[in-house]
């Protein structure tokens, strides 16, 4: 079983119009920038994939990555916790013009909804958001004298994630705080596509150091010396 994909173009070739795509990363760390840019290249060349629903903690920064996807016009909806970042003009303009849909989810609930999907748990109860406008319309129940809100799992058709070391059976490690949502999203999508900085044969990662076991990864592509989102945003790069 070899999950190795030769290049970025092939890695993202199967994502269709209207797909729900989870994208790893938090702020400027952990985003699979090269996979996202390959997807934008495909959209510019073919008009597909369009009308995507994006799941990420944020809604893009600066002019690269998710922000560039939004500017390109390929995103219909964003599910995130914090779209109002300092360089989030791409999303803000579309949102205030009514051209993009937003589902706002508290950060811990977003993480747990994704984890639940990956774990086969259709719903769970959390104290988060009880009594607030973000809980409106959701069932609530009392447990041991406290009120909790029922939240549903959040699944995706595809997950685009970034690891540090990978092997051809899909085992992954992550670099420092670039881990964030990546291991959760790897579990929650029908098809998980990972870019890694270093790719090796099975055995190149000590089994005790594996963070995401290969069962959660379908496609893996090597991107040596990947670009770092925060660095690109600070340089003012526009893709």
């Amino acid at each position: 079983m070899n999950k190795l994909c030769p290049d970025l173009v092939a890695a993202v070739a199967d994502i269709p119009d209207g797909a729900t795509v989870m994208i790893g990363g938090f702020g400027g760390s952990g985003a699979p920038v090269e996979l996202l840019h390959a997807l934008i290249d495909r959209f510019r060349a073919t008009g597909h994939p369009a009308r995507l629903t994006i799941v990420n903690n944020n809604a893009g920064n600066g002019g690269i990555g998710i922000a560039a996807m939004i500017r390109a016009g390929m995103v219909a909806k964003v599910i995130c916790s914090f779209p109002r970042s300092s360089n989030a003009e791409a999303f803000n303009e579309k949102y205030l013009a009514g051209e993009i849909e937003l589902e706002l989810v508290p950060q811990g609930t977003l993480a747990e909804r994704i984890r639940a999907a990956g774990a086969g748990i259709p719903a769970f109860y959390t104290p988060t958001s009880y009594g607030t406008e973000l809980a409106e319309g959701k069932p609530a129940e009392e447990f041991d004298g406290r009120m909790y809100v029922r939240e549903r799992w959040l699944k995706a058709d595809f997950a685009l994630i970034k690891g540090q070391q990978g092997d051809t059976v899909g085992n992954l490690t992550y670099r420092m705080a670039a881990r964030n949502f990546n291991p959760l999203m790897a579990m929650a999508a029908d098809r998980t596509i990972a870019q890694v900085s270093r790719l090796g044969e099975p055995g190149c990662i000590d089994p005790q150091q594996v963070i995401t076991p290969g069962i959660f990864v379908d496609t893996i592509v090597e991107v040596p010396e990947p670009q770092q989102e925060e660095v690109l945003v600070r340089m003012g790069v526009v893709y």
Binding site: F26, G27, G28, S29, G30, N57, S81, F82, P83, R84, S85, A88, F91, N92, Y95, L96, L102, L104, V105, P106, Q107, G108, T109, L110, A111, E112, I114, R115, T126, P127, T128, S129, Y130, G131, T132, E133, L134, M147, Y174, R175, M176, A177, A178, R179, N180, F181, N182, P183, L184, I211, Q228, E229, E230, V231
Partner: protein
């Protein structure tokens, strides 16, 4: 009146942060909210070992690195570069919020637009015009053993921020346990504001006049004294 001017004689944000830092015990696990609460770490008393948690999956981080030494894969929830202390660890987002909701943190400190006498907190949005963004605020108010707020006692316009009930959209119900304000330290006990300390210069009636709900006292009210040079 005593000549106390609440806009000029109140504590600075740094002084509020200093006061909040005095209550963080040795060995605590603490999450400091983005912005003003982050300042508390600067005033951690000598000899106390405090482990700081950040939502994006780091426990045991230290000061910001020198300019030019940033590693942008090593950031906090405010997207600022951080450094690690010996004993630090990384984990994914679901584990990070398990630490929050699961009751593993000793203290979470947040900012506030309004705090109500029953402990309700409003701190994530004030109106419907801008892009809404909640981040981890609604999670952080649940689970920590203590949930504290650092805030000015009144808004820029002089309106009370400690109120009978919040008028801004809520972040959480009945979650705040203590408020460190620019004029006082107030606990929330059984749906009431209980005054623990106040600036010695401000008369009780003047403090009550800028507080939107009744301040109760249980025994003696202490003097809120902080170093003048911070």
């Amino acid at each position: 009146m005593s000549g106390f001017n609440i806009m000029e004689d109140k504590l600075s944000n740094a002084q509020i942060a200093w006061r909040a830092a005095q209550d963080i015990g040795d060995g605590s696990y603490v999450n400091l909210g983005i912005g003003f609460p982050e300042m508390i770490a600067r005033f951690q008393p000598e000899g106390r070992n405090v482990t700081y948690h950040t939502e994006n999956g780091v426990l045991g981080f230290g000061k910001a690195p020198a300019e030019g030494d940033e590693d942008w894969d090593l950031i906090n929830a405010g997207k600022k570069a951080i450094t690690l202390k010996p004993g630090a660890s990384f984990f994914h987002h679901a584990d990070s919020f398990a630490m929050v909701r699961g009751g593993h943190l000793d203290l979470a400190v947040l900012g506030a637009y309004q705090v109500a006498q029953n402990g309700d907190l409003a701190n994530w949005r004030v109106g419907s015009k801008s892009v809404p963004a909640v981040g981890g605020a609604m999670d952080l108010v649940h689970g920590a053993k203590r949930v504290a707020v650092v805030t000015d006692h009144v808004t820029r316009d002089g309106a009370p921020k400690l109120v009978e009930s919040c008028t801004f959209p809520l972040t959480g119900l009945g979650c705040v346990t203590r408020v460190y304000s620019s004029l006082a330290v107030v606990d929330i006990v059984d749906g009431k504001f209980v005054l623990r300390e106040k600036l010695p210069q401000i008369p009780m009636d003047a403090l009550q006049a800028v507080t939107g709900a009744r301040l109760h006292s249980e025994g003696q009210v202490g003097d809120l004294i902080v170093p003048a040079d911070i």
